[in-house]
């Protein structure tokens, strides 16, 4: 019933208002998506074809060799593997660490819990980029630059506050009765934490995972500050390094950009519903 009422203005409104609504939607959609269409189009052309006065080019023949260059010389697979590994690890650690802390803060009885929660949440206010200079010093002093840890640790540390915030909120809404029953049955505390409570946290674990992934997947400031060799460089470096190497081959640059953007866009389109839900939950409560 209510969906009918809701969409009435759009389906049964005057033709004029319906036209206005559709024009608005389509204009915004074009503004958002056309630059990407343009990117894709130029990535299939040759560099000489680009100096045109038209908006899009119809290439004489599709230049898939641009993509071959991007794939091979952009170090695409290696960087993709690094990005994937580091981000998956970051998600797992963020979920574990923030869930454990959230449990201690909301369920356990101790005096400092409020203070500890406040301190951990304060991380949300600190601008990441202000820590670039001192962290570079710290990491080079203890020989941690150019290792996976120099990315993993700050990624986890800066995703943790929001994760903790979401998880304490969610944990408070779960009734304690199940836990109490488990304790009476003789469960130890760690069984309660990981065996009873953690499975019930699935929705907030999903949200935290999505937020952490989105936040860190495209990060490159820390990566370009703390890393020097190719060993742990992440996906954005495909673009950053390739454009330097192929500075005059514009078409190949377009191809590497399209290729680098592809994994995130494809995953987003497939998991559209879950990601929308996750982002919304995380942002509104965060």
């Amino acid at each position: 019933m209510h969906t009918k009422a809701k969409s009435s203005a759009i389906k049964h409104g005057s033709p004029f208002s319906r036209a206005v609504i559709w024009i608005l939607l389509i204009v915004v959609a074009i503004i958002q998506i056309f630059p990407l269409v343009w990117l894709l189009d130029f990535s299939l052309a040759s560099s000489t074809e680009m100096f045109t006065n038209g908006l899009l080019i119809i290439p004489e023949k599709f230049r898939f060799d641009n993509y071959v260059k991007a794939f091979v010389d952009g170090n695409f697979l290696w960087y993709l593997k690094n990005s994937f590994l580091i981000n998956v690890l970051a998600v797992v650690i963020v979920v574990l660490v923030s869930f454990m802390a959230a449990f201690a803060i909301t369920r356990m009885h101790w005096k400092m819990s409020g203070l500890v929660k406040m301190i951990l949440l304060m991380g949300m206010m600190i601008p990441i980029h202000a820590t670039l200079l001192p962290n570079y010093k710290i990491y080079s002093t203890i020989n941690m630059t150019d290792t996976m840890w120099s990315l993993l640790i700050p990624y986890v540390a800066f995703s943790m506050p929001q994760a903790l915030f979401l998880m304490t909120g969610f944990l408070e809404s779960i009734p304690k009765s199940l836990e109490e029953a488990a304790v009476i049955d003789g469960c130890g505390i760690f069984r309660v934490v990981f065996g009873i409570d953690m499975p019930m946290m699935k929705p907030s674990i999903a949200t935290v995972s999505i937020m952490t992934f989105l936040n860190n997947w495209n990060e490159f400031m820390m990566a370009s500050t703390y890393l020097s060799s190719d060993k742990w460089k992440t996906l954005p470096f495909s673009v950053l390094e390739f454009t330097g190497e192929y500075s005059s081959n514009y078409a190949a640059q377009f191809a590497v950009m399209a290729l680098t953007a592809a994994p995130a866009v494809i995953v987003y389109i497939i998991l559209n519903k879950q990601i929308t839900k996750g982002v919304a939950l995380g942002a509104v409560k965060g």
Binding site: I126, P134, V156, V193, V265
Partner: protein
């Protein structure tokens, strides 16, 4: 049961990793920044303590104030341009329903999942004076199309456009979620009363969206202040310091101009600015909420009295 839940060792095991991470990755760098902020370190070799010299220099540093101004401009751009469009789009989207709703929501959000590295280089090409998309669009409509988009005078506006464009999906999605949470019976009541789309938007959606608007505005302000990555790749603050932002400036000072001590001093001020801005916006919105609650209480009390 009680004993088990107040076991100190267990608590330490559970909170320990989080606190350690915080201390190592957040607290330690802040302390180190405060320390180096008082020195003339170049980043390498020995250095001396110079007291407040860096901070005194900062007060007279034009580039720093340009950065703050640019952040303010960006915040205004988010709030005055991006948010109104995002909210209206979200409102329409919500009433669209079905596949079209799903499709447009997806399209609007896609730029947001693409790496800043790609976005920055893509827009460099869009602004390219020779074969850039923007000049070609101007030519397409009969103009001359020889605008130097990243030149001194208009570079900051070009940068703002990229940031507003890239963040649009995010803002839209948050408004969209807020709108989805509005009780549909309110819309039914409005449509029975014969309210049109525009009336419903201003009469029901907008007032009920207040908390969501507050969240979104807070995030816009803070992300405008924290902006770095797009600018770093698109213009690196140039030409001159025309598109400078604080984070980019402190990075440049430390690693390009080798004024590591000065860069850290900017970092300290930057952290303070971010904390103060967060606290103030939260306070302002909290006070407003309290006042409004009181008003509502009064109204309902009066109604009861009647």
């Amino acid at each position: 049961m009680k004993k088990m839940y107040s076991n100190k060792a267990v608590i330490a095991v559970l909170v320990g990793p989080g606190l350690l991470l915080f201390a190592f990755a957040v607290l330690a760098p802040i302390i180190l920044s405060i320390y180096y902020g008082f020195t003339n370190s170049t980043g390498m070799g020995s250095y001396d303590f110079v007291g407040m010299k860096n901070y005194k220099e900062l007060i007279h540093d034009e580039a720093f104030f340009i950065s703050i101004r640019n952040s303010a401009l960006l915040a205004l751009g988010f709030i005055c341009i991006q948010h109104p469009i995002a909210m209206v789009t979200a409102y329409i989207l919500d009433r669209l329903g079905g596949r079209a709703e799903h499709f447009f929501r997806c399209v609007f959000f896609i730029p947001n999942v693409i790496s800043v590295a790609v976005i920055a280089y893509l827009w460099k090409f869009i602004y390219n004076p020779d074969f850039g998309l923007l000049n070609n669009i101007i030519k397409f409509f009969g103009g001359e199309g020889k605008v130097n988009w990243l030149g001194q005078d208009i570079a900051i506006w070009s940068v703002l456009i990229v940031l507003i464009w890239h963040g649009f999906g995010w803002g839209m999605l948050i408004y969209y979620t807020g709108i989805k949470n509005i009780d549909p019976t309110l819309y039914e009541a409005a449509s029975i009363d014969g309210a049109g789309s525009v009336q419903t938007f201003f009469g029901i959606t907008l007032p009920l969206m207040k908390p969501v608007i507050q969240v979104n505005v807070t995030m816009a302000l803070i992300s405008a202040l924290k902006q770095m990555e797009t600018v770093y790749l698109l213009t690196n603050g140039g030409p001159g310091n025309a598109t400078q932002f604080t984070a980019n400036y402190l990075y440049q000072q430390a690693f390009r101009a080798f004024k590591y001590g000065y860069g850290n001093a900017i970092g300290v001020v930057f952290i303070i600015l971010c904390v103060v801005l967060t606290v103030i916006t939260n306070k302002v919105f909290e006070d407003r909420d309290l006042k409004e609650e009181k008003k509502l209480n009064k109204i309902s009390m009066r109604k009861e009295a009647i």
